[in-house]
């Protein structure tokens, strides 16, 4: 088969846009975070639509505004958040899979639901991989995140026939407020009053949230001292001396010194990744 490298130009790239796959597991020994898609469910679904192999690289967006021009024909898919999408300024009613022609411009408008959108392309974006992953991270990839004016590369074939029955992406799974979690390693250090507050009070997503961690607005009064630094993972919930709750996400460091009070399930991490600033959540213990 004659493979041709296509170019995709980021005509406009909003902050918080990065290339992601499932992330890397072998770097923790050197202090390298896992990284990878914040909502793996959305990432996997978009790749499944294109019948992509595992671990292909997709574009993750945390804000609307992307404008991308594909120089060669290709097939793309979108999942995760639900956004208004246009191709050459014409609205697309169901953007699950889109066949892009030569020089076509795809534009992502306002998110109608969810907080993180995945743009996948047949065969994935072509980047150098490190420890089995192409996920962007400072000191691991150059650049460490994506910006306006950059060019991405993909393998351009004549796209496969687009499925006649267009699959519909639903958001039902991330709408509930329940966030399921196991008791963390330091859960037993908390008082009954702290347990009760954590499990019975709604918390809201703070604007101080990024790929390293999602902070919550409400404080939990905390007198615990810092502990010896020990391992943390995506989904570990930390309680700071100031009473702030931080849910560690995919780019978090591999160890931490704050009490580790909860550990979110994989499903809950994906759901949380789709919550917007101000959205309420309720922790539910398993």
């Amino acid at each position: 088969m004659n493979l041709k490298l296509g170019k995709a130009q980021l005509l406009r790239c909003p902050p918080g846009t990065s290339l992601q796959d499932e992330g890397r597991v072998l770097g923790a020994n050197y202090g390298i975070p896992r990284s990878g898609a914040m909502d793996l469910h959305g990432y996997h679904w978009a790749n499944h639509l294109l019948q992509n192999p595992q671990q292909v690289v997709a574009l993750e967006m945390a804000q609307p505004g992307l404008r991308i021009k594909f120089e060669e024909p290709c097939l793309v898919s979108l999942a995760g958040a639900v956004a208004f999408v246009t191709v050459n300024q014409a609205p697309i009613s169901n953007p699950s899979i889109i066949a892009m022609g030569s020089e076509d411009i795809l534009e992502i408008g306002k998110f109608r639901a969810g907080a993180r959108l995945y743009l996948c392309i047949e065969g994935g974006f072509q980047v150098e991989k490190y420890l089995g992953s192409g996920s962007d991270f400072v000191s691991i990839t150059t650049p460490a995140k994506r910006s306006t004016g950059e060019t991405l590369y993909y393998i351009s074939n004549q796209p496969k026939t687009v499925l006649k029955a267009k699959p519909k992406w639903t958001t039902n799974w991330f709408e509930p407020e329940e966030i399921q979690a196991y008791p963390g390693p330091d859960w037993e250090l908390l008082s009954p009053a702290q347990h009760s507050q954590l499990l019975n009070q709604p918390f809201h997503i703070s604007k101080l949230s990024n790929r390293m961690g999602i902070q919550l607005d409400e404080l939990v009064v905390n007198e615990l001292e810092d502990l010896p630094t020990n391992p943390v993972f995506p989904g570990t919930v930390q309680l700071t001396p100031g009473g702030k709750i931080i849910v560690l996400m995919r780019d978090a460091g591999v160890t931490g010194g704050y009490p580790r009070i909860l550990q979110l399930t994989e499903e809950a991490q994906n759901r949380l990744a789709q919550k917007k600033t101000g959205d309420p959540i309720n922790f539910q213990l398993i």
Binding site: V25, A28, Y30, G31, V138, Y182, T229, P231, V254, T265
Partner: protein
Amino acid sequence: MKPTYQLISPTLGELVWNTDPTDELLSIQFAYLTYIQTNFSTTLLEVRQGFTRLSLVWKNSTSQQEFIQLSGTLNLIPEPLPEKIWQVPVCYSPKFGQDLESFARSKSLSTEEVIQLHTQPRYRIHFFGFLPGFFYLNGLSPKLHLPRKSIPSPAVPPGSVAIGGKQTGIYPIQSPGGWHIIGRSPLPFFDRKQDPPVWAKPGEQIQFILINPTQLENWTDEDTKIFLQ
């Protein structure tokens, strides 16, 4: 020094030691690491090391249950720690250690005393965390313990040598940071183009060596090679 096993999720758990981090504990952690990596490599996804824990990520819940059954009966012999001592050059001056003078004032010490207390011990590398290539070091003099800054600096330069709480460390890459910056080392601490990307290993030791600002400013790759032999 027998650990307990704490189950966190069906596929995540940790070996727990409720003692202060010491060389003795590190020797036992190494023995467990070797044992686990030798015998469970096919069912284990990842091991992460901390000061008083080893966290184990299993491929499935059955593998974790099998390990729990076994772990209570284990009686491992502590593993000797490596003897390698790395010399790490550091320029302690207000120009490169922006918090050196305020740090000394907070501790009622002269800057000379801070430098003397910081360069005296050998520090044991326990593991890497926080950032790629960030050493977690044990051995800071209690005379230099100081809580972290209330407002973190937005951009700490790479090579910055810092103190936070009971710990000292070196920022391998530019990062926001809440530790007090007392100096700068010219060595590279993380380079993904090298294999492995960090030159030191857990268990090895670090000794800080005083250099002056002229030496720091004129540092060459050849100088680095001499230190990293």
